[in-house]
Assembly symmetry: C2
Homo-oligomer: 276 residues x 2
């Protein structure tokens, strides 16, 4: 096993690279696993991407993302469910077993967090069996509480597990991403809970750096640049029995402005440093 | 009892008003309570502020803020403790019984949240008896998790209570601010815990609006403009037995750019609307 055996590069970290460029760079750097996003995959073509990845001998660790389940209007809900069925189909085509879900924020004008969380459960009830039929597991991702109103009302690992545990683990689990949970003193216990239930469907790394940019979306730090003790979180996840891929997923305007292969090389180096 | 009997305007909401302008406007609008900040009070003079407030018949509900207890270097810790003793003395001079504490973020280069939280406890051990001698209660304020690295490692009401409960309630309690806790499904139970222990030392309102500005400090929304169900949180706090002041504390560049008296009138109107 090489030191990159568990490493997966999420495509968003180096979104300046086209899919063929990313695949080529992975070959060069000895990277065997990638996490993909729907939009760039759709632009390249889902089948074409699957073929590109397969021919290169790469594994797709996750597809990001489904979700956005919190709409109230029936047409909007039906449309979200249809889109998520397509996301499940795309995941199956790409050969990944994990679809990451960003569950959605509060609908315009609503202040009802609990109601929104229940609509997420309703959507999972519809989608979980469909996912299973396609060999895909859903991973509910808690997002940092700063996204609670506009992006994801699931703010903690405990909340994500409360949702996931309504379903069998092979249908619904959680995404553990350091960026979203590092501040939470309850998260280590929740990682143990998730691991005991076989529900850690992906483990992702991003570091916390400040000041946060306007809109707080594209300020995730390179591994090692910020406040998060990555070794400690990796330890929690491994103590919980997780032996799967460790995906680095950064959204960062400064990284995107740089040469993509240089950022990829740096990310590999930072990942390797976690072992030292 | 008028409908503003429990209303308190925090000085930061209308920081474009000088202290005499604020006091005058309070008289005009029928506002009997203000929350003050150390910096503008020091600029005007602590004794002079106390006299101005007293002569106007106003009550000071809180002084913001002490804290920043997380430094590691002995000199920095001694300096923080000395500054907090001054803050306690200032609170006593101003006649308020509550000093709000923003506990501090991670020291530069540190990734140890638990260690930082323990240093906060150490500081409280030094300061709580001193505060009691001055008739002042310390209110540990959990800040939203988006401030965990650079401002306050106490991110939830549960963590704040874990710290406060090491001390008698008349020495250390918590600040409940809707802006910081609204996303947290555990917060209602923690408010009940705080109320049962007599530890709700202040209740503050600010609304959650997006997009967050760069640095995420000055984007607190006017009451009613955002995602937070203020009536619900007021209900939780009152169900927990809290009958004290309700302070509106907004940091908002757009509000600060407007006429201060107009913003104050709007804030009063929004507060009144919570009763309807």
């Amino acid at each position: 096993m090489t030191d990159l055996a568990r490493f997966s590069i999420n495509q968003m970290t180096v979104k300046q690279l086209s899919l063929p460029e990313l695949v080529s760079a992975c070959g060069e750097f000895g990277i065997g696993q990638v996490g993909l996003w729907r939009e760039p995959v759709q632009s390249y073509g889902v089948e074409a991407t699957a073929e590109l990845i397969r021919d290169a001998g790469l594994t797709v660790t996750t597809l990001c993302r489904g979700g956005f389940f919190t709409a109230i209007a029936p047409e909007a809900r039906a449309s979200a469910l249809a889109d998520n069925r397509r996301a499940i189909e795309e995941a199956a085509t790409l050969g990944t077993d994990t679809l990451v879900l960003v569950s959605g924020g509060l609908p315009t004008g609503s202040k009802d967090l609990n109601g929104a969380r229940e609509r997420i459960a309703d959507a999972l009830t519809e989608l979980a069996p469909y996912a299973e039929q396609h060999g895909v597991r859903l991973a509910v991702e808690p997002l940092h509480p700063m996204y609670a109103s506009d992006r994801c009302v699931v703010s903690t690992l405990a909340q994500a597990l409360d949702l996931a545990e309504r379903f069998p683990a092979h249908q619904v689990g959680v995404a553990v991403d350091t960026y979203h949970i590092w501040w939470d003193d309850q998260a280590p216990a929740q990682i143990a809970r998730a691991g005991a239930g076989g529900r850690i469907h992906t483990f992702q790394l991003a570091d916390w750096v400040t000041p946060l940019p306007e809109g707080v979306l594209n300020g995730r730090g390179q591994i090692g640049d910020g406040a998060i003790d990555m070794r400690e979180w990796r330890g929690h996840v491994e103590a919980a029995g997780y032996t799967g891929p460790i995906e680095v997923e950064l959204f960062n305007d400064a990284l995107w402005a740089r040469d993509g292969r240089e950022v990829l090389a740096e990310t590999v180096e930072r990942f390797r440093a976690l072992r030292r």
